[in-house]
Subunit: 304 residues, 4 copies
């Protein structure tokens, strides 16, 4: 298959001006991003690389980082983490606090905010320097020592974290948060502030496409047995209350962020990242989803 020509046709078919979409504005720094950015990078397991557009410009990966924090926590605590967070889709956008209350402080899954905060709490319990240690882990799996946090974004979000504080206090009232709330929040906003290009993002997620082996060294740092479970969680929970829609249209496990990035993987085949800051009403990149739908349709490489 000629992947580059497929990517070219995707770039041509998608007219970014056809898509409405709003740039995330609740984090002031993100609101400054040019809404017409659009890029895509496909990394095949045989090391083929294909790309177009703004694929080499860094953007804030935001919630996509939750998958990376999750795999790190899973390595540290193994199956013990599933006592503190469930693996079910969250149902609807208002459910965060509702479900937490009905379900005694156990978040529905580790990819919604409440669950990601529990994962942060777990990492804070284990890591000496949570921010530095997590960054080193990311640099290792991406085989890229230049990956970094964006302090401006981290601090920009911090001022708006009342809702995350509410979640943390509520979970603490149920005994499901162990560490100091300010420390967790600080780590959380740094984690979300990681910036990557489409290329870097697809390279980082080769870990999930390649059964736990990292780029470059090909070292197996995570057993497949755990990788497949995280892939399963991305499949059912990776897109807020649009997980079903992404599964239906694209047919790959993946994760989106409000920075407009989406990463998706096809186990044993490829990892792919798309970026466009215009978000649909559910908070996912409208153009990113359209591009990935075209990719699996044209390549006939959905996991289904």
């Amino acid at each position: 298959m000629n992947y580059q020509s497929i990517l070219n046709s995707i770039e041509q078919e998608i007219n970014i001006h056809d898509f409405e979409g709003k740039v995330a504005n609740y984090i002031p720094e993100l609101a400054k991003v040019d809404r017409n950015k659009f890029g895509m990078h496909l990394h095949c397991i045989n090391n083929g690389h294909y790309a177009f557009g703004d694929s080499n410009e860094r953007f804030s990966i935001q919630s996509i980082s939750k998958v990376l924090a999750l795999i790190m926590a899973f390595e540290l605590e193994r199956d013990a983490i599933w006592k503190r967070v469930d693996v079910e889709p969250s149902g609807d956008p208002f459910n965060s606090l509702v479900q937490l209350e009905y379900e005694n402080g156990i978040p529905r899954n580790p990819l919604i905010n409440a669950g990601a905060l529990v994962i942060c709490d777990i990492l804070v319990s284990h890591l000496k320097n949570p921010k530095a240690d997590f960054l080193n882990f990311i640099r290792k799996i991406s085989n890229n020592p230049t990956i970094n946090y964006d302090e401006k974004v981290a601090k920009s979000e911090k001022e708006w974290g009342f809702r995350n504080s509410a979640l943390l206090h509520l979970m603490k009232s149920f005994g499901n948060i162990k560490n100091d709330i300010e420390t967790i929040l600080d780590f959380y906003v740094y984690q979300c502030s990681l910036t990557m290009t489409c290329k870097e993002l697809s390279e980082t997620f080769m870990l999930f496409a390649n059964k736990g082996r990292i780029l470059g060294t090909n070292e197996q740092i995570i057993p497949w047995n755990r990788i497949k479970r995280i892939n399963a969680i991305m499949m059912t929970c990776g897109f807020y209350d649009e997980a079903g829609e992404f599964s239906f249209r694209v047919g790959l496990p993946g994760k989106s962020g409000v920075g407009g990035g989406i990463v998706a993987i096809h186990p044993n085949y490829y990892s792919v990242a798309a970026w466009s800051p215009k978000l649909n009403p559910k908070g996912n990149s409208a153009i990113g989803m359209a591009a990935l739908e075209l990719l699996t349709t044209k390549t006939e490489l959905s996991i289904f």
Copy 2:
């Protein structure tokens, strides 16, 4: 009517050992109270006083204080407060966070925790020394300079305030909290820690039975027009999700606290307080409700 003999018959008919009920244990200091305490005090508008049992022992009035904070805030801000808190019953015990989320941070009414926290926020905005000024207000309407906070209870609750913090952070995310969260929480736990005897409580609430006039001086410090509205809110919202049951069985506006106190008033007739720490599953004094039901049945003085 011979009120004292009616009270005596209530004391005799109620066998406190027939009631199960649990003493509130989420505030450690409250858990130490003798579960078999039981007292009642009736203060008639013509100044008749009738009582039995432990009616002269002070207890923690807890949520009953929310009515007192409400009338103070209502005086300070008038109808502007209804933009920040509604006057509808809250429906069910789990609703606090749920409703806040669906209704954009506007609490259902000022007598549930979320609403009482908004009222505290309003008082913190207006008062130079919230704790001292509020205490002085209470001493004035009760015509009793010995009323005080119980610091041990205040501090005991403070350690368990994660859920209230969650509510405050959530409301702050909607812009409905203006002051520093720690300051509000500190004022809130002090407010709830007020201790009174049944006698003092009934005297304090004569304000509501007597169209806004205070004891002793008979000074009209609140216009009737506002008193009747607070009485209406007590009627529909004074007993968490058991407001309908209290209205159905007792038929008076009133308010309960997890310390086991209940106060109720019959406009133009009397104010009455009962105290017994055993709580029913809805968090209201089981024996207190039974005693008040007997009172309105025997005197045939329900407002209905």
Copy 3:
């Protein structure tokens, strides 16, 4: 007090064109009513009668009839009915099906649709000819043999009863409906189709203002003990999710219907009915509520 001049001033102060309000349109027959109708009738316990406007024109009392069915069922089954329906406010407009599901088919109170359907089921179990027997009961308490159903309205509603069918089937799945669903629905729509004038409505509800005695004969047909409980339920549940607002603004037990009628009572003083078909967004007569608020403000006769 000169009640007629108070009523006159209410009629003058209210400019019906100031109120937006929508005429109920889900029942086609009701949609035909002139939206500018407005009348009021006050019946004092000493037999004084005061009125203005369209107070002698019959309208569809709709949900107001639920109170009348309730008192009849209460007489027939006594406290057994409270095992099948609760007495708590329903919280929010979407709750009907939600609460039924969470609370195992037990409706929140007898004045929401689900509860009223259970009451119909109880009447169908007891009455030989539900429609005829209920009508005779109404004629008796109103001392008025001309009261009747409006068949056109009853049949008009029947075609739109899918939601009530849903409620009945759901409750039947929990075992809380005993009779044939079609029979209950048929009785229910007839019950709701009763037409009365403001004068007739206030006369009928003298039963609740006058401790269970009916007009004309003064016969005590219901003991006060039961009347006060129904009054309490009207207070906390009579206005859907606006019960708190009505209590707050008007301060009387009452009940509204989507035909634009509102009836309210002041125990031992009076019964009053107002009618104006323009409904506020919560489904209650906007002008009717305003008129009643003026009445209790001007007469200073709220129960609070």
Copy 4:
């Protein structure tokens, strides 16, 4: 890979007496099934067949039939069906009526009851003889003219259909049901009463493992483009509120039924069916899930 020896080891490792589980009892006929039945059948794309236990005994496939009705409706109406039913996981077990109400009568997905009833409504609109035509379709895709309904089961369920009636009436109130409710219910219970063996079930679902081609003739009766979407829906919605758990543990698209059957497919590899009537608290076969988890672990053939 030696599939038969893998299946043998699964049969040996699972001690059915270690599993609690309750046989579905809300359908009387199903309650009669021997709770210790256990069988499994694996059908590989290369036509290899492997099995153990009670794999040749027919059982009631119940909700598994919803996938078959869905693919038939999808063929008939194409993407128009997604205007009447969404493709998102349903979140929690109580949500059926709740979500329908909040989301204006649009079911969350076609594999929960509400959605399956909409699909039945669509089929009733298109088919001359819904029951016969649907059965013929099943016989065609399974290449098996002996597949049939179990009338006893169909009639047994019919008596308990109050909740489904509630769903249908509620959706009809929103205009999302077009045909007569009794007709839909009748078709629905027949559809659910289909009986198959594990062997027959896995053969039928080869359609989904084999890109839309049927057994025997290898005729492509459904384009892959539609098959992959149904597989995606099975992935995110096939196990009520345990879809995330199944994805996490097993990692295959599939569907369960309260008769104790589970079918799952690995696109381009195999279709597999397991049967054991003991249900876990979420209503899925406890042993079936354990067997499938062992299968994907031992074969290392999860889609992730």
